[in-house]
Amino acid sequence: MTLRTALFSVVLWTPLAAHPHFHLGGIVAGAGYWHGGYSPWYYDPFLFYPVYAPGYHTGFGYRPNMGAVKIEGPDKDAWVYLDGALAGRADKLKQIWLDPGAYELELRSGDRRAKQKIYVLSGKTLKVTPELMEARP
């Protein structure tokens, strides 16, 4: 028996000592509350919560009262800047979630730059396309 298995057994069986129970072959049945440790079958719906939040992997994940920005049809290699700070590559940032407010959105691809002020509202999706932007060589 490895140390890991031994520790697991202690955690699993210790609570049963405090409550009435009986053995039936290899099966143990009894009454009482489980408070000796985490059950391997315990499910916490919020344990991996951020993993499932939309946009989590881009660094601009969804939270309540946020608005979405969809960047449609730009160069795949364009770099996206928000208020002058690098946000990521356009192909990775298909949809980002931001707090309500006004932002300077800039796309940089080679020597081409496109800049636009965007206004994000909670619960709404703003679609940004390069055609709406002014190209600044």
Binding site: Y119, L121, G123
Partner: protein
Amino acid sequence: MKRSALLVMAAGVLWAASGIRPRGSGTDYPAHETAGGVTIGAAVIPADQVRKAFATDLHGGGYVVLEVAVYPDGGKEIDLASGDFMLRAGADGEIVRAASGSAIAAALQRKNAPRPAKGSNVTLYPAATIGYESGGYDSVTGQRRSGLYTAVGVGVGVGQPPPPGPAATDRDRNTMQQELEDKSLPEGKTAQPVAGYLYFPKPAAKARNSYELTYYGAARQIKLRLPAPAK
């Protein structure tokens, strides 16, 4: 002195930042007119373009958007104010003044905010019970009990207010106001061509076949007949 000069410079930068880029000339607009040393060009923005150009839901909120450009002739300085523009919808429709960004933002936020339940969010559920009891013994008299019994009660339910809808927070109102003011026709003195949007309350459906925009800021009134945008 130095501080006031800085304030004037800052105000100049803010003024220059608002509005949109004017088209090449007044003739580039569907409706244009020259009088009193100034040329006015205007166009009604179709609903689908309004949805693309604005994050704020102006069309759904009940506003019609006009793109207006002002071209002073020969560097003549003019004093622009959105209150100098009036819009008439239809042949004998009522005349409306342009709405400010702050008023529109406040109205749209109020419209999107969740409505509280009438009265309060506490609900009462009256209950009445009638039953027949048999068996058991009275603890005082020791006799067997039987017969009808009645009971009344009240259940109290306390509910949470509904969650806010889209664009219903205070930050949304500030953002909508900023967007509308950033894109609106710049106000103040200018000798350069300027352009921007004006927002008017939407008229009744039957009066939306044509618009007439009147500018009162020049030496004499300038009237522009605007065809309704193609749907």
